[in-house]
Subunit: 311 residues, 4 copies
Amino acid sequence: MTDKFDDLRHELAVANRILAHEGVIDAFGHLSVRHPDNPERYFLSRSRSPELVEPDDILEFDLDSQPVKPATVQLYAERVIHGEIFKARPDVVAVCHHHAPAVMPFCISGDPIVPVFHLGASMGAVAPFWDSRDEFGDTNLLVVKSAEGASLARALGKHSLVLMRRHGATVVGLSLRELVFRSIYSCDNARYLSEAKRLGNFSPLTPGEIEVAQAIYQLPNAQSRAWEYWETRLAKHGGLPAPLTQLASTAHLSLPRPPPQPSPASRGLKGGGRGRVGGGVARPARTADKNTATKKAAAKKAATPKGGKRK
Amino acid sequence: MTDKFDDLRHELAVANRILAHEGVIDAFGHLSVRHPDNPERYFLSRSRSPELVEPDDILEFDLDSQPVKPATVQLYAERVIHGEIFKARPDVVAVCHHHAPAVMPFCISGDPIVPVFHLGASMGAVAPFWDSRDEFGDTNLLVVKSAEGASLARALGKHSLVLMRRHGATVVGLSLRELVFRSIYSCDNARYLSEAKRLGNFSPLTPGEIEVAQAIYQLPNAQSRAWEYWETRLAKHGGLPAPLTQLASTAHLSLPRPPPQPSPASRGLKGGGRGRVGGGVARPARTADKNTATKKAAAKKAATPKGGKRK
Amino acid sequence: MTDKFDDLRHELAVANRILAHEGVIDAFGHLSVRHPDNPERYFLSRSRSPELVEPDDILEFDLDSQPVKPATVQLYAERVIHGEIFKARPDVVAVCHHHAPAVMPFCISGDPIVPVFHLGASMGAVAPFWDSRDEFGDTNLLVVKSAEGASLARALGKHSLVLMRRHGATVVGLSLRELVFRSIYSCDNARYLSEAKRLGNFSPLTPGEIEVAQAIYQLPNAQSRAWEYWETRLAKHGGLPAPLTQLASTAHLSLPRPPPQPSPASRGLKGGGRGRVGGGVARPARTADKNTATKKAAAKKAATPKGGKRK
Amino acid sequence: MTDKFDDLRHELAVANRILAHEGVIDAFGHLSVRHPDNPERYFLSRSRSPELVEPDDILEFDLDSQPVKPATVQLYAERVIHGEIFKARPDVVAVCHHHAPAVMPFCISGDPIVPVFHLGASMGAVAPFWDSRDEFGDTNLLVVKSAEGASLARALGKHSLVLMRRHGATVVGLSLRELVFRSIYSCDNARYLSEAKRLGNFSPLTPGEIEVAQAIYQLPNAQSRAWEYWETRLAKHGGLPAPLTQLASTAHLSLPRPPPQPSPASRGLKGGGRGRVGGGVARPARTADKNTATKKAAAKKAATPKGGKRK
């Protein structure tokens, strides 16, 4: 779909792929962003591995986690995590659920994760621990019912990171980029903490240090520097999403996706740029309702050299 | 060979390469799939590192692990693992034997692997431990005799994963994709368990949780999402197998293979696609019995752009 | 800027990227080199992740860490680390501040890092430990004031590496290449030490061994062999910086940078070489004061094949 | 040089690069092979990181580790390791000295490495431990004198792997491929052992198991399968050496090497193949004594497609 949320969908797709590329999420895990104009809505991909999410995959949901337009594609089973947290936390703009290797040992052992270095303070002072068994007994551990999502949101409380026993973690942010920053550095923090515990003694940051250090990523050159770094790394591996070139309705067709993209190196070689290979042009047109003007705009967009896109 | 099992051989080659790319198998290890029409047969590659297996390498074996057609190529010494498990377990459709770094410390220490997170439950509740020394005394630890394979199959019993002391592991699945899913996530489970044990206390999933969580990968969007993810990662690294373009008899010639494939980046650059470089076209024709129609179909297949192949 | 410091800026950019590629620095961290003609000045990049630093990004600072020419680009908040160490240590030619995963567990636990293998002796016999809390109480742990930088420089003393509690490390060298060598091998040393401690007993090098082994990197073929290795690895991943093609003033414009560079593979394919894509040509001309001769020289330089550049 | 040892030099260069690519050696470390016709000679690269070694870099040495033809290039300081072991062990055909991260914690702690899995048995039953301090007191730990090399050779004795305290390891083989196999799998063995020790109890292979399992790599399809795997992985990363195209004398000129090679992807794209970029053609001719016939043969060789080279 080509509308005023194109950039937001593109950025959310990039964020998905950054977290995959940096080892926070693998085949599973997902991240969402609240609708900028309507706090009762949020954007989230259809069910797909984050590394593969395209802007076209991103759908709009209400806070009961129902798609705003009827969808025939598969949806994430655990999207109530997003809806219930957006309900409970009006301040939250973005949510990520993951099973990062860095946090799993803590989710399994029950050991607390505490901030142990300056950038790790971005997780906040405390990461609450939620055990689905307490309220819901034996389940498959997935958070699929509204009641489960609401329970998780209560456990999260006013914090930024909640650990989910034998399952993973959920992170929130006041912006999408804050969320990405916090997700990555809270994983680093967990890794360093785990190693430090084995070396011997360790002491976390003081409450005073946490309070000021958790704001580091709000410094003008911290978040943008990190984002540029992660996005460049992603681009070097050919991991950028395709540009938006399809109308909204395509997301509602459960047609087969094109196969795995060619290797990064071949993408930029054929004149038309990224759009040619990974994006819309190679796919058969799937909708009849495109008007010619839109088509031309999309084609023009696809041909824009990489350099012309960033803000 | 170009016959009705082309797709199966292609998928088995992809599965080999996925497990290599995800770090489950290295130079050694192998995986098989039962013949879909004849339960007394199974498909397995000639002796070759899984990362290199091409559809053309895959041969048909009977349950005594003898090749159905006389083969002059080298065969895996340990193929009785597959044959004996297919005999003992009529429900099993696919078998993988590996020496993943994630499980080796458990195979050496004898510590049990238990499921500690939701996706790890795909291993089942129990992973039995088989020590070749118990029945066979001092060997080179390879499972090469029928009696050894049968002993291993007995140890596996009704379970999905059996650890082999000082050697590795064998995993089974009710489908090839289930097998791949279980192989990868049981390795993740072993890694997280190992780390959690060092942090301090840990508790496995409850029996009730295991029972429901081990079925997660059967959810409609779990297995296909993960497969798409792994296959895309493989494709990004230029790791997809060449398309099938040779007749059956080629697999029985012990001709030298073409040398290492060029780097992924150069593969897609020369018009004809993958087949040109890694696959059949660059190899000299090795059989005289191709008819022209088959040849044309194969050529056409090789020239299909990557986007047109997946189901 | 094209002047007599072109090579130095190119080498500093390469050093930045080597340390990023070898896992010493990530989104954050920075390294500087003293002005070869004026000991009261040093060169350091504008605020940017080291993996992305281009020669054009490198600015000149005085020892109070103020840019020599007014800059409108973002500057590293912690550049006083460099200025204060250059003040306190006239012998030091290059400084690196990093948060390498290898040292963080020691920075958190307070365990000392001691040299445990021959190349690790490049760190020197002792790595002092600096805790910002001792003098400055609760801060966000960044070293942003002159007094903080001076305190760190005092803790460093005559040594080559200082650990910064809950933050990272700072390393110094008598040359840029010595700095890179020491930064990389002191991280290896920390990793091996950490593992050795878990295996059981360990003993560091003797004082006599350290004294002679710390000079290994000064052997004629040690430092150059290592540098060639790291630079080649970097080049293989498409990580070399773009050649210098802009006049000095460009660094003072806070124009948006071009987006992430295309993958390495595509860089060399379009005739003009690296400069076409990552460097100056793709960017709009940003200065009016280029004279034609400079322009031609720059263009000629950009077109030089990779092979023609190294000394 | 183009002579009857071309293939041997090519294979030794490949072996160097395989061990670098598989993480056994980094900037330092080296490996040699005995002269097939003259047991008093061996081949070893000039001083260069193994990942970069070209066939042209490989020189001939006598057992006192002096180059057979006067060399003006830098030589490895520690080549006496090779010469003294070839003297003391007439059965040995190939020698590798490395500082692999997998063995360093054992070299530092003094913990013994014992074989704990079937492929790990390739290290043999015992890995002796050599401490340079015992005979030579405080040194920089490099093995640079004949007496030091001879002492190390005595410690090695009849075994296949000797650990060098606070330094690294030296491995020997009855063939170059056996050496590569043993180097890689003894590192895997060390990693698994280290992890197993942390999990709890562990028991090594029995003497009977070791005796038969250490011969696994001599099975017809074990060594060749592994070599094909490692060489393919190397090729995929653009890591194969350039073909031999220079006469012998070039190795004796200490001319600057060409700069880092372009990224793998671009290597195969320009018609002439690998030789064009990384090898001889791009370099200025450095010798006057080439005759035209040799030149043509070399050029023809450089143009051979990758597929035509392997045996």
